[in-house]
């Protein structure tokens, strides 16, 4: 098992290098130089040229890229052009907001989505089944920012129940978490339903009923356990994506998470900040995917046996 983990971690390196190259290249193409961002419009062009020179901006693209990568390997992510703070510090201070938002919305989506999906499968073609299917399809179709704005209008402007923006208390996270949970919730309902439908028709389920197990026991102990892989995949992958910052949701609710930071950094050509952010996002995403694969082994003995047999 550990061999497999090491192999996966090593495989992450070329992908991360590739991502860094693509993003570095794209950022290089945007107009403006670092000195324009650091010194603003008032500085003289000589001063700007000198600063660009000292930052190594005038050297060839490939050399700058290699310098950056070498820096990252030494643990130096550089400093933001805009705030002057070290990139790592800034990202670290934003991370809790993004993490909480991802966590709450995934919990919300799972708590509603999985039971609803199971109910749909157990009572196929019933009223609850068709209602949840339509509800799921409608929920995927709602633009997230619109849902967010509508909730602000209703719960903040009209009813004054919840704060419209910020990220200080748990109350600040309620509306953003609902907004973010929407898509995952809808996908979860549909995926849980279709997987459970397949599992319920298996022979071992009939055997369990034949032994005299109650319906609840069969569903929870026999069927759900075998339907778990696609379900944790959806929750995991979406959690991974969310750790990269929900750009739009954070923007709607004025939250200081990674998504908002990345958006403003890209727009102001804050290259070290963008690079650091994108790398963190990609690493998080890969780690979550790796954890998911390890999870499979615990949920499904067949997968575990494969690791033992192959040794990799």
């Amino acid at each position: 098992m550990y061999k497999y983990v090491i192999k996966r971690v090593l495989l992450m390196i070329p992908v991360l290098l590739g991502i860094s190259f693509v993003v570095f290249f794209l950022m290089d193409l945007t107009p403006g130089t670092p000195a324009d961002i650091i010194m603003g419009d008032l500085a003289t062009s000589e001063a700007k040229a000198a600063l660009n020179e000292s930052l190594g901006w005038n050297r060839p693209f490939i050399q700058r890229f290699l310098d950056y990568i070498m820096g990252v390997f030494r643990g130096d992510f550089g400093s933001s052009y805009v705030s002057g703070l070290p990139v790592f510090e800034e990202l670290f201070s934003r991370f809790p907001t993004t993490f909480q938002l991802a966590l709450y919305s995934m919990i919300l989506a799972s708590l509603i989505g999985i039971p609803l999906g199971i109910a749909c499968a157990v009572k196929q073609y019933s009223l609850i089944d068709s209602c949840s299917t339509i509800f799921a399809l409608i929920f995927i179709s709602i633009p997230t920012f619109w849902l967010g704005l509508m909730m602000i209008i209703l719960f903040s402007v009209q009813l004054h129940w919840l704060p419209p923006n910020g990220s200080e208390t748990l109350a600040h996270f309620i509306m953003p978490a609902i907004t973010c949970a929407g898509t995952t919730l809808a996908t979860l309902i549909r995926m849980t339903r279709s997987t459970m439908l397949e599992v319920i028709r298996q022979d071992y389920i009939r055997t369990a009923y034949a032994k005299g197990a109650t319906k609840g026991r069969v569903i929870v102990n026999h069927a759900l356990q075998n339907a778990f892989i696609p379900i944790i995949t959806i929750v995991g992958v979406n959690f991974g994506y969310m750790l990269g910052g929900a750009v739009i949701t954070e923007n709607v609710f004025g939250m200081s998470g990674i998504g908002n930071l990345l958006l403003s950094s890209i727009r102001s050509k804050d290259i070290p900040m963008v690079m650091g952010g994108v790398l963190i996002v990609a690493v998080m995403f890969s780690i979550v995917n790796l954890l998911l694969d390890i999870c499979y082994a615990y949920v499904d003995p067949r997968v575990k046996a494969q690791y033992k047999k192959g040794g990799a």
Partner: protein, 294 residues
Amino acid sequence: MKKTKHEAPRTDKKRSQLLEVWGRLKKSKVAIAGLVILALLILMAVFADVLVDYELAIAQNMPEKLQGPSPAHWLGTDGFGRDILARIIHGSRISLSIGFVSVIVSLAVGGAIGSIAGYYGGTLDMIVMRFIDVLMAIPSMLMCICVVTVLGPGMSNLLVAITISYVATFCVIVRSSILTIKNSDYIEAARATGVGTFRIILKHIIPNTMGPIMVQATLSIGSVILSAAGLSFVGLGVMPPTPEWGAILTEGKEFIRTAPHIVLFPGIAIMLAVMSLNFLGDGLRDALDPRLKQ
């Protein structure tokens, strides 16, 4: 969806297959509802000029700004006094064409790359797929934001950005469906009779992979419309005064306390469009599923 009659003549195989799918699609009320809504929206986009003058959607009329829905302005007016209904009708042209064009282009580009990689396999496949891995690991929203920042905001650049971020998705889907049928007996038979590679891909492989690809394409149009609106929302979409749905909504953001209708109606338009595509795509998936055939 249970009983499917083979009424179509068996001689014309292609047609009968299409008819069979249509027959099964017809039975899904949700899919037909989606199809009808989508058709209405497309008609609205095509005949936008007949319905309302483009001037009404663009020209500012400050004395009538921020009005709620009334007989004169069915959906009210925005911060510049422009009729929101007129803007939504003309916006359907922009929003729907962004959806359809970028999906068609990224399907063509991604499909071409994916089919070549999948068909030939080996080193070429390895190199292409590692590159696709990199593209897939960058969240599509970030990718779009980066590309739009490089190219500058505007409708055509928005199209490029969204297309780039969807190429990888289609590449993966087309490649995997090619891998599953590449070694089928009928492909081997075609090769044995001396059919060229290009012809095999075009005539034998592509038609047989169309099902899942069509479903994915239909659903993608919906998500493209959502992404485009989202990019407009963070200020990287089409430029004002062009009436893209997301842009109309975003312009209403500052009046959210006093005139929430500006935000409400374009949102409903986006939702209807995406919903119709999702209903249709979902119905298509069921209609094309061979396991549901009888």
